[in-house]
């Protein structure tokens, strides 16, 4: 028992059990859902996120959870939302956001996303930089985003821990933390680390320098883990707590998920080998502009790719971007995700998916809406390790739900109602309901809700 507590304490919030037990780990989630009743969203086209589409279907929400999805549901006493002509999907999840750490306005004083002081900063946590009053949270909500991972930037080989948030306003980041969600570890391949540190005549200055840096850190982490394990078994002294190695050890123990910024297929292939060398899993490659070149390898390794629909060419490692990337990854049976990395892009991830659907259709890959919606719901939930709680409209899951005023893959469609844990968190045009951040008071956004 004492040993177990020691391990939990050591891994702090990396220890999900401690949080779920209402334990005292530092920075544990204090998220509280809004009060909610029983709601029946009736008569909609429902994309469940499991790959299924049900026409003229109902979604029943009770006690903040999905109670049932089907046709002609019996829901005595429920508030009925007539959703005829509407489409319903799970809440949108963005696995790659910098809201709060690179907030609006973009000022030097609030630029807190990159600890560019050393190539290995696995000790820093993005949540300690999140400014909850970033107006980007509320505009993302208007785009149907109910949860997101906030990541450190990509200047470093190991940028620090990412945090998954529920998209409800909070006075501090703990109020927003997704209960029980594992931490992520941001890693970065390629141009950014070598440019940032190479310019200072410091390692890494090349891609081979990058790889040497990852391996050196994993060697330290493995040694630290061995010492901790031995001490837990009564052999040797418990090493002094080391925040950096604690995070890396969390990865080796499978408690922290790797989110690896990596554009090129050849570099991703090398990263997969490093993971094998040290016995960890690459959960998700981010940006992954060339995943289409190694889609079979990614499927084999059970590694997700989080991708833009069409960003390309802004640097060499993005030069081979193609519109069909996400579709080709999906077709290979690998986990494909559309992500934003942008406070503007996060507001319409559905549109990004639609552009891919159209491009794929040109070359004979017909991707129906019920399949594409997985890229921004269930696959994203898998990447973040929250797929037991959200990502699909299945009974028992948290009722994070979006009602769209049309097909979500049309440019003209807007999110009409967004539910988080069964409570209406946003409604198109409802100034009384929609959140306004402290920062936005007195601006046009305050006058019209999230605009």
């Amino acid at each position: 028992m004492i040993v177990a507590i020691a391990t939990c304490g050591l891994l702090a919030a990396g220890c999900g059990k401690d949080e779920q037990d209402g334990g005292t780990a530092a920075f544990a989630s204090r998220y509280e859902p809004l009060p909610s009743g029983t709601t029946l969203i009736a008569g909609a086209t429902v994309l469940t996120g499991t790959g299924e589409r049900i026409d003229d279907a109902d979604v029943l929400i009770r006690d903040g959870r999905i109670a049932a999805v089907g046709t002609d549901l019996d829901a005595a006493g429920a508030d009925v939302v007539d959703a005829a002509g509407r489409w319903v999907t799970p809440g949108i999840i963005d696995v790659h956001s910098h809201l709060g750490v690179y907030p609006s306005p973009s000022t030097e004083s609030h630029s807190d996303g990159n600890e560019m002081t050393a190539p290995v900063t696995a000790n820093v946590w993005a949540e300690h930089s999140v400014w909850p009053h970033d107006p980007g949270f509320t505009t993302a909500l208007a785009g149907g985003v109910t949860a997101m991972q906030i990541l450190p930037g990509s200047a470093n080989l190991f940028g620090g821990r990412g945090v998954t948030l529920k998209n409800l306003p909070g006075r501090n980041v703990m109020d927003m933390k997704f209960p029980g969600a594992p931490h992520g570890l941001k890693m970065a391949c390629g141009e950014n680390p070598k440019r940032v540190y190479g310019a200072r005549s410091q390692a890494p200055g090349t891609r081979m320098g990058n790889v040497a840096g990852y391996r050196a850190a994993w060697i330290d982490a493995a040694e630290y883990r061995d010492k901790v394990k031995a001490a837990e078994e009564g052999q040797g002294e418990m090493p002094k707590r080391d925040l950096k190695l604690e995070t890396l050890m969390g990865v080796l123990e499978g408690e922290i998920l790797v989110h690896n910024h990596c554009y090129r297929g050849d570099e991703m292939s090398i990263m997969l080998d490093i993971a094998k060398e040290f016995g960890y899993r690459v959960g998700t490659f981010h940006h992954a502009v060339e995943s289409y070149k190694i889609a079979d390898l990614l499927a084999e390794n059970d590694t997700c790719s989080a991708m833009w629909a069409d960003w390309w060419g802004f640097k060499m490692e993005a030069y081979d971007g193609i519109r069909e990337n996400i579709a080709l990854v999906d077709r290979a049976g690998a986990c494909a995700i559309v992500h934003s990395d942008s406070a503007i892009g996060i507001q319409r991830l559905n549109q990004e998916a639609a552009k891919v659907m159209g491009a794929a259709a040109r070359v004979g890959m017909d991707i129906p809406p019920e399949r594409a919606i997985r890229w921004l719901t269930s696959n994203a939930a898998t990447s973040l390790g929250i797929d037991e709680q959200v990502g699909t409209l299945e009974a028992g899951k948290m009722a994070d739900v979006v009602v769209w005023n049309g097909n979500p893959f049309s440019v003209y469609t807007l999110a009409e109602r967004v539910y988080i844990d069964g409570a209406l968190a946003y409604e198109l045009g409802n100034e009384d309901l929609n959140p306004v951040t402290d920062f936005s008071l007195g601006t046009s956004a305050a006058a019209g809700g999230a605009q």
Binding site: S104, P105, S106, T107, P135, G136, T139, E191, R195, Y292, K293, A295, D296, D310, W311, W312, G313, F314, K315, M316, Y319, D320, G321, I322, R323, E324, L328, R331, A332, A343, I344, Q347, R348, Q351, A354, K355, M357, G358, A359, A361, R362, V363, F409, S410, V411, Y412, T413, L414, F439, S440, T443, S444, A445, G448, Q451
Partner: protein, 433 residues
Amino acid sequence: MIRQVALIGLLALAANAPAATTAIVGGNVVTVGPQGTIENGTVLIVDGRIAAVGDDIRVPAGAETIDASGKVVTPGLFSPLSQLGLVEVPLSAGPTDGAQRGERFTAGFDVADAYNPRSTLIAINRIEGVTRTLSAPAPAYPDETGGGHIIAGLAAVVNLGDSEALERRSAAVVVSLGEGGSQFTGGTRAAAWLTLRNALDEALDYREHKGDFERGMRRPYVHSVADLEALQGVINGNTPLIASVNRASDIEVLIDFVSDYSVKAIIAGGAEAWMLADELAAAGIPVIVDPTANLPRSFDRLNARLGSATILARAGVKVAIGDGDTHNARNLTQAAGNAVAHGLDWDEALRAITLTPAEIYGVASTSGSLEVGKSADVVIWPGDPLELTNYPDQVFIKGERIPMISRQTLLRDRYLQSGTPPAYRKRQPDAQP
């Protein structure tokens, strides 16, 4: 010998003659001109120009006929602001040509001399319907290698075809004002206005006293002769200033400035322009709007919002749509579609990415709509061009059928089958297995 050459020339002409006439028939033709939208219409292209548009056009014998029934036919898209042809890979990948550091030249810096019609970006964007753009210099913001000037230089209208791409040199002069301008002028936007006024004052003085200046009988100018010559178009009212500006108070100053100097201006960005919609309409200042830029990314943009294109257009402001992106200039249709989602009329939105940009850069007599006599820049779409899932079936630039191929489609085709692409297993022709 001479006769033989002449004969070959004639034969070549004869062979080309039928191909020079193309009829696109049966489509839903959105002309963006006075003819409006024509169902089951025909667009007749002869020698690179639009020869006829209507629902009762006789197709000449020998014309190449393209069946567009069930399709939508529009003018080519016109990106109102990009750096196409100037930039390949902007970060850590060698020089780019779109921004000039140092203060040696200001308005005289002309990107037209750097324009590369064979850039890989051209094909990638034109196969998605972009046929023209204003290729514009960008401000060289100060960094450790120095900085540029609030006046970034001269922009050019180009077509994205394979030949004779330059349509209009000196189509606009790009200038940074507001917070952007303040970065060049010691940290205050007031000094940016001072700098701009001084430049125009010198250009005016130079115009009136050119002879004296050349004889050395006039005070020295801060600007070079090349700059002052370039600014003549601005003070004569032929070349608009593209003012990169967002804050409402700066826009108020701009309105007065335009009136004081009798120059033309176009606002790029204009996050808070919607707050002065009536004033801008009265002043005749168009705005290039990015319809999705709704965040207060700086204190100049505190009142950024969705729907600003709608507010501006309803007040009578000429609205072009574009976010200034280069690699993805092709996403113009998505931007226009989002403006429609927030209230802009569909026809207005399509106009904002076709005819309006042509108008504000003075090239509407030759492009921007499907009207007789204009350049045959035509796009055939499988459906609504603003819908995200629709990509062009075929693009024409100056009547030329553009190969619907780009470096990206070639990469795609190489990897369409999974595993190692066959291209990686090529053998020398004479090698035996």
